[in-house]
Amino acid sequence: MLAEYAPLLAWLVLVMAFVGGLLALTAWIGRARPAPGKAETYECGMQPMGDARGRFSVHYYLVAVLFILFDVEALFLVLWALRARELGMSGLIEVGLFLAVLAVGWLHIWRRGGLEWDR
């Protein structure tokens, strides 16, 4: 089945060439007309105040960490799902324990306020 990856590679080359070609074409054809203030950061016409390299809400970081936890766990579930029928009851009990741990972790996050957005 490794042969299936050859057309995929050709496809990737095609789309990359397409996107690269569009960017190159517009860089070649599009004419630059510089003007004062044109390349200034857009803040609805006001003088820009500071830049965007300041601090932002730490909550985004928490969301990213939670995502990694749950996404890895979802990937473990894919392995079970592929053979769910063959594994039968014993597989179900094992994955049930796994899901229970996942659910307890999720409840704990909720109780500790990890899912509160406005706090």
Partner: protein
């Protein structure tokens, strides 16, 4: 020449590229036409008959536009971000099967790990958005990029979990085999909850209304693409539309039988009828995207996070648990 081993893959690639670009370009027109219809306007109707050539005119206009980058932006990332947002969506299109010809699926790459490929590559699109927002060095852009990435990763979990239920029912990660497994009965009948979760998450994953916090015009101007113009903006736009096309195709393949025509065996379906069925199903969900956008109001950002983490996540976990119990009982019943 038609017997050469490269012939079929080459034709498939060209056809798929044509289909992808015409669906995405068509969607830009459909979006404007349908929004006009909903708001009792005419919409674009000057370029060609019924404005059909509007996407072409837009492309020409974008190519001739100046490449503008803000002074304080990071030039390299500012250039790369639109391509990074657009390429993953285009790459995932290669895994969508459009039917069967001579017993083999009409797909660019019939991958054994098709579902994982679409998830893995598709989720790379978030890099383009967050890098675009950061590289612009604009507060609106940064906020839009952060919001979009937090939203996409939050809903990705429910998306994956809803797919795990489908994988459990189909017993395969190969998208063509998942289609074949639905010959008798579409997955939406077996997994209605997973289909519902997928429907909601596909709106969130593509940053579309009612979850379009990445743009959120009243607060963030244009969100992560505030500073973008010309072709670079067009690539973000194209990436969003292709992502919608791919998600609609994914929905059709996973839950609505893909190329399966109702009451007709897949093996007995001519290839063009299968491809037509697939495009009609995709078209329905693409139309739903537009319909929802011009009908529903936008969520508030905390509501979006609550919906993802407190409703969709437990719902998809519970659905998975029920699926597991039913499958195990089914197995026991078969053994007796």
């Amino acid at each position: 020449m038609t017997d050469a081993p490269w012939f079929r893959p080459a034709v498939t690639i060209l056809a798929a590229f044509g289909a992808m670009m015409s669906l995405a370009a068509g969607m830009t027109l459909v979006e404007r036409k349908v929004s006009a219809f909903i708001q009792e306007r005419h919409g674009p109707n000057r370029v060609g008959p019924f404005g059909l050539l509007q996407p072409l005119a837009d492309l020409i206009k974008f190519v001739f536009k100046e490449e503008l980058a803000p002074d304080r932006a990071n030039p390299l990332l500012f250039l790369l971000a639109p391509a990074l947002a657009c390429l993953p969506a285009m790459a995932t299109f290669a895994a969508l099967p459009f039917g069967f010809l001579d017993g083999k699926p009409m797909v660019v790459a019939n991958l054994d790990v098709g579902v994982l490929y679409v998830l893995a590559v598709g989720s790379l699109g978030v890099y383009g958005i967050i890098l675009g927002g950061w590289a612009s060095n604009n507060k609106y852009s940064l906020l839009g990029g952060l919001r979009a990435s937090a939203q996409m990763v939050s809903y990705e979990i429910s998306l994956v979990l809803s797919l795990v239920s489908v994988i459990a029912v189909s017993g395969s990660l190969n998208l063509s085999e998942i289609v074949l497994a639905q010959d008798q009965r579409w997955n939406v009948l077996v997994q209605p909850v997973a289909a519902l979760v997928f429907l909601v998450t596909m709106f969130a994953e593509t940053n579309r209304h009612p979850f379009d916090f990445a743009e959120c015009e009243p607060e963030l101007v244009g969100g992560f693409h505030t500073e973008y113009s010309g072709m670079r903006f067009a690539l973000f736009f194209l990436g969003e539309y292709i992502a919608m096309v791919v998600m609609s195709g994914f929905m059709a393949v996973l839950f609505f039988g893909g190329c399966d025509v109702p009451f007709l065996a897949i093996a007995a379906t001519p290839w063009w009828a299968g491809a037509l069925a697939m495009v009609v199903k995709m078209g329905f969900f693409l139309l739903l995207y537009v319909w929802v956008r011009w009908t529903l109001p936008r969520f508030r950002y905390d509501q979006l996070m609550y919906l993802g983490w407190r409703v969709l996540l437990p719902l998809s976990l519970a659905n998975l648990a029920v699926t597991g119990v039913v499958l195990a009982l089914d197995r026991q019943g078969a053994a007796q």
